[in-house]
Structure formats: C-alpha cells, structure tokens
Amino acid sequence: MRTEGLIFASAEQVRELENDEALRQVANVATLPGIVGPSIAMPDIHWGYGFPIGGVAAFDPERGVISPGGVGYDINCGVRLLVTPLAIADATPRMPELVDELFRTVPSGIGSSRADVELDDAALDGVLLGGAARAVEMGFGRAEDLAAIEAGGELAGAAPHQVSRRARDRGRHQLGTLGSGNHFVEVGSVDTSYDDVSARRLGLTEGTVTVLVHTGSRGLGHQVCDDHLDVMLAAAKRYGIALLDPQLCCAPLGSPEANAYWGAMNAAANFAFANRQLITYFVRRAFARLFGETVAAEIHVVYDVAHNIAKLEEHEFEGRRRRLCVHRKGATRALPPAHPELAPRFRELGQPVLVPGDMGRHSFVLLGLDRAASETFSSCCHGAGRRLSRHAAKRLARPRHLVRELAAQGILVRAASRATVDEEMPEAYKDVAGVVDVVEGAGLARKLVRLRPAAVVKG
C-alpha cells in the first residue's frame, strides 16, 4: 500500500464490514500509483469491482493514474431531485394514476428505448458535447434547469470521437430511459425538515411533493467503460503498473490512453446529464396530464449530481492548493458554502448532496460542509449501500408479495420485473438514516430534509 485507508463508519457498520471484500478493495486502491491522501470509503461502502462502491481516491496529475474501475460502468450515474408545487395530501388520491403514467412515460427494463427520440450521429455528438444544455436546446426542459445541475450539466473535455460505434449503437435509442437494477423514478414528499430556512430556499417545505430520478449513461456509458478497460489493461502492462485486480487497470494521467478515456468518459457523463434532463421533461409531461400545465410549469430542478465520475478539481491538501484527479465511485461531491464552483443560489447553503435510501424507507438531502473539503476531497456518501446479495434478497422475498406490502405502507411500486423488486427489497439495503448520521457526525455534510417515498417506478 502506498497510503492508508480511511473508512467512515459507525461501530455497527464496521462490524458488518468485517470479512467483507470491500475492505480489501479499499486496500487495493491504496496501491495505485500517484494516489494523494488516503484511499477513502464512505459509510455506504460495499463490495464493488475494482474500487469499492462508496470509494473516493485522488491522484496527482503528474504521477497519478486514471482508472475506469474507479468510475464504474455506469458513468455519471447520479441523482436528480425535482420539487413540485403540490402538497402530498392533494397528490395522494391521484398517486395510482401518477405512478402508472410515469411507468408508461419513462421506459425501463431490458431493451428499453424511446421511439420518440431519434439521434443520428450528429445529434448524438451534440449530446455528448453539450449534455443537459443540448437536451434543453432540443426542447427537453428549460434553461433555468441547467443552473441546478453539477457543472451546468455539461462537462468540459468531452471527445465524442473517442466514443466507439458500439457504444453509440448501444446508447442511441436509450436517451430518456431509466434502465434497470437500482435505478428509479420516485415520487415522495418532504416529511422532516432539519433547517426550515435553508430548505425553504430550495422549495423543500414539509409536505411538498418531490421527484427523485436515479439513472446514468445507460448502455453508452457501459460500453465506453468496457472499450477502455481493454485499452487500460494493455496500458497498465506497458507502463509497468502492478494490478491487484484487473478491474483496477489504469493509465498515467496525460498518457494517450488516459486522454482517450478522459474524452470518452466526459462524453458519456454528458449523455447521462442529458438522460436525466429528458426524464425530467417526461416527468413534467406526466404531471401535466394529471394535474395540468400550471403544475408542470412549477416543477423545478433542486439539484442534479453525479456519483460515478472522475474529475479534475482544485483541493487544499497538506497546506497547498493542488489540482487533483478525484475518482468517486458511488460517492457524491459535497462542496462547502462559498465554494466558487457552486451556482449563486447554493453559495450560502453549500452543495445539495442527494442520498436516496431504499424504496421502503427514506431518502435525504444534505448540504456539503467545510470538513469534507479537508478530509474527503469534498466527497460524501451516495446512498444506503447494499447489505444483502441479490440472491439472498430474492430468497427472502420469494414467499412474500413486496408490492402489496409496500402498498399497505402507502408506497406504490410499478416495475418492469418482479426480480428487480425482489432484489431491491428494503431489507437488502442498510438503513440510510444510519449512513447519513455517520457523514453528519463526521462533519462532511449536514441534514437538510428527509423525504418519504409515495410511488416508485423501477426498471
């Protein structure tokens, strides 16, 4: 190991982690060349491939590396939070219609695609370069949405020519689709506010209906990762980088292989921002059909943030300002108040950190704090983190009827498959409340509001 591991966890979470492969993965990341500071893991840490899920690592641009395994297959998988003008008491009677409408409007599951969004190569290049901004130009949303997205929904450095034909063909019809697994569109409401004044500034007053969107770059991003893993495996050998896990394959920052991945990764990240932008458009259309155009016009983006990404960022480390390549795999950026990268509306508050829980419990909105800047390269947790394997969850769910159980708790679920619902059962996840308590206790972020789910569309 070139550095130490730093894991944020409660005593109970540490006990659960004993003998978990994720700990070995934290150690593996600590062996990569040019790592700066510790190999970090958030309390939602669990076994991933290459990096652990919940992993954060920063690399020196001169001596360090970039690794597709530190970003993951779902490049810029992330979360977007929308706020509506509706009160939950008024929306509840129409929730069954709303969840059906969302399920119809946002395609999910295997082979999901949209016939109403055609992208030829030129149009796809525009999306890969322009991200959410290009989606808005295409008529999917409003210019005001962009100010509430990380980096305005458009990452610099995208190189569409580094995105292969196979990646393009895989993603071409998937813009505006949800995918499968743990991805979802969730209608909920603010059920607890921890700071009324700040929450009100983001429109998050108690009882207000919200919509969380969790998805990423779909097949295009998965293929970009696959394509460049092959390149990086050869590169690691060529540059003499010893790998404890082939999924950690990497190349020195600034090398031709790293530059190629950088261009493709940012292009895929822009595709993901555009994907969530299109889904936002179709969510608004669904609300318009049920509640009218006036309501749809008052649905605003609170924030949109990636949790699978590598970014070049400025950080204060060991007393000096340094430019570092920060990998976050299942971890969310958490900028403190007054950070220059924040849009004006967030400067006094700090960056919203969106932390979805499982579909039966709560989700949280946090705000980034200074301590994250000094301890975790401004990073925070990204979700609850799995505790049961899909296999075990399915076994546990088999004799039960989860959709009915959740409906009895006032949570409607529509899913493309029963397998997804079973594998994503609430018990398969840690309690997200325990995860956010750890990051708040460590001073990385503070709780702003808690959201309660009312209706969930799953892939």
């Binding site: 669990h46 779902d74 895989r170 697994g181 293929q223 082939p246 397998a419």
Partner: protein, 131 residues
C-alpha cells in the same frame, strides 16, 4: 452446470462444462435465465461470435461479453449455441414483450474475480456481472 454465488451488489455465477463448447452453452443458459427467467426463447435468428483473444480464458470472457452486448444493444436473447472452428454460433431471438417477461438488465461482465480454470471434469469459470 451453472449456479449463482453470493455477492453483495452484483451477480456472481459459477459455470462448469466438459469442454469450451459446453461452457459456452452454460453461459448462454445463464444469460437467458438472468434476462428473462424461464420464458421460452426461440432459436429464430443465428449470430456468430468470432473467438478472439490470446488464450482460452480471454476468448471465453469476450464471448460472454458479446452476449451481454447483444442483449442490451438490440434485445437479443440467446437460446442455444454451437462451437465451430474459431467461432461460436448463437441462436436466439429478439426480446418480445408479448412473450418474454423481463427479469433484469445486465450492464456488463466485469473482470473482477474472473476465474477460468481446467478441472478434473473439464472447465470451470466464475463470472461477476454488473447489474
């Protein structure tokens, strides 16, 4: 034979077969089960995977990866396969919502903990899929 093994987040499976062709057949059966459960998949279309790679392990890895790509790129569900000289032909059909129930979508075949080894009974592989 194939079976699922424990893994916290992703999907881990073990496959065994008497030879390379049999192992590919197990991979086809596994993918079909993961994608559409026990729904019947008809061998209506034939596709070929040219076996490429420096060794048998890599050729097998890339074969399975191609099955994952086909499923996501155009909804191709594999039904059966046959080993040919330097290739594997795969028969199957496109996903049809009227006959197939979706079980899950597979993002990728990872290289993490990939195992491919000779055993007394033939070949054994371990695969981890990202879902």
């Amino acid at each position: 034979m194939h079976r699922l093994l424990e893994h916290t987040a992703d999907l881990r499976a073990e496959l065994t077969g008497a030879d390379f062709g049999a192992l590919c057949g197990e991979a086809v059966a596994l993918l079909r089960e993961l994608l559409v459960g026990d729904c019947r998949v008809e061998p209506r279309e034939e596709r070929r995977v040219a076996l490429a790679g420096p060794d048998e392990a890599e050729r097998f890895f890339r074969f399975v990866r191609e099955l994952v790509y086909w499923a996501d790129a155009d909804g191709f569900l594999p039904a059966a396969c046959a080993k040919e000289d330097g290739a594997v032909s795969v028969r199957g059909e496109r996903f049809d919502a009227s006959r197939h129930a979706v079980d899950r979508q597979i993002k990728a075949l990872t290289r993490h903990h990939f195992v491919f080894e000779r055993t007394a009974g033939g070949l054994r592989a371990e695969l981890i899929f990202d879902l």
